[in-house]
Symmetry: C2
Amino acid sequence: MSETQESMIVEHVLDAISDQRLRAGTKLGEQALSDLFSCNRAHVRRALATLSAYQVVDLIPNRGAFVSTPSEDEARDIFQARRAIEATIIRNVVRRADDADLAALRAHLTHEDAVRQENDRPKAIRASRAFHMLLARIGRNSVLEKYLSELTMRTSLIIGLYGTNKASLCADDEHRHIVDSIAARDEARAQDLVDHHLRHIENEIEFGSQSPRIGPLSFILQPSEG
Amino acid sequence: MSETQESMIVEHVLDAISDQRLRAGTKLGEQALSDLFSCNRAHVRRALATLSAYQVVDLIPNRGAFVSTPSEDEARDIFQARRAIEATIIRNVVRRADDADLAALRAHLTHEDAVRQENDRPKAIRASRAFHMLLARIGRNSVLEKYLSELTMRTSLIIGLYGTNKASLCADDEHRHIVDSIAARDEARAQDLVDHHLRHIENEIEFGSQSPRIGPLSFILQPSEG
DNA sequence: TCAGTATATATTGTTAACAAAATAAACAAA
DNA sequence: TTTGTTTATTTTGTTAACAATATATACTGA
């Protein structure tokens, strides 16, 4: 069903959300999107239905589509779900990772270091999320991988909403320690580190400090780069 | 966005799948669905997009929508994901269940007993799934609840595809033992029982025995009852 | 009878036009 | 100035018509 057109919209919006270019509450107008991606509104509507099913967009009847704004309760549920899912993922990783996977993890760590130098916040956020998604891929469970993909995007929204400046990024050495424990095939330690890492991120969030500023859609999405 | 019409279709299809009235591979024609639910094709299309996002329906370009047919690998991923998610759910349940929740669980057990007498297989399957979803609700994590809802539906597809006759239902006493451990606030035991219960179900599946028979859509969905 | 091909039918994909609702703007009265 | 009302504009919702593709049927030749 014309997957390309629709999935392009979906992918761009998801990317923009996970990079925190699109913030919670932003309206996703049908006309605006169909203009941006030069397609008709039917495609946009189906894309929005898909994004709504992913729970990153809220569809309000007669009002339109908005990037969803997770509540504090929802945020806690999301983090607990991440701990549940990533615990199994890391166990799979420790058991299944081969040399190529370990090399990819090491390569990613150096990439994260390089990004950290640049002081490019969206880029750093993207890299940080990519680490968790790399683990999910190495874990080789497509179901958990998809769910984590959704949850990390919603985590981006949460951090964008409530996150303090310092908190918004995963501490570098925590990722490094996790990779070390994987290389050592230390399952218990790896699980522990991931769990603490996630609690770390959650604890650095301060609920109550909303920052609702949003920018123009055309600037944020930039469909040309896809 | 006219949630009622679209969500009605979605709910009916999901119900039919979880009851195993809709089997893997069944074609969901746009005309057929719009006739059944007396709405236009635009609604059907958006409903199918949503169902596709839930991963219970596959959209094949220029061919249409089909109830998805999980592979053996996918099935194993689904069961592992269930173990990951239900482990956390049961922990929440043991910690959070109040007297009303325990009463609801006991009531459900008697309901399952009653259903078992009737020899109505779809009804028994529905009751069995309802037990797991009741746990998810009592666990009070909306994210895990939604994911488990998806996974139990996909489990229905798997059992419909590969399940042996005896295997297709959860053993009654296993559910009862789980409730007992919850009442006793024995977290470790409850987690253990749920894990074994899920492995039990998985082990009774025989991959390789496809049964691809399907019936007419109008008979299966029966939109009148909604 | 079977295989291959051409035709006919049905289904999905796409677009545009119109209706209904919500938002924005203009205006009047206090 | 502020509040409330009316009008205009924009945006979402709905429908139908048409194009493109796939499936089913009928036909021809071996």
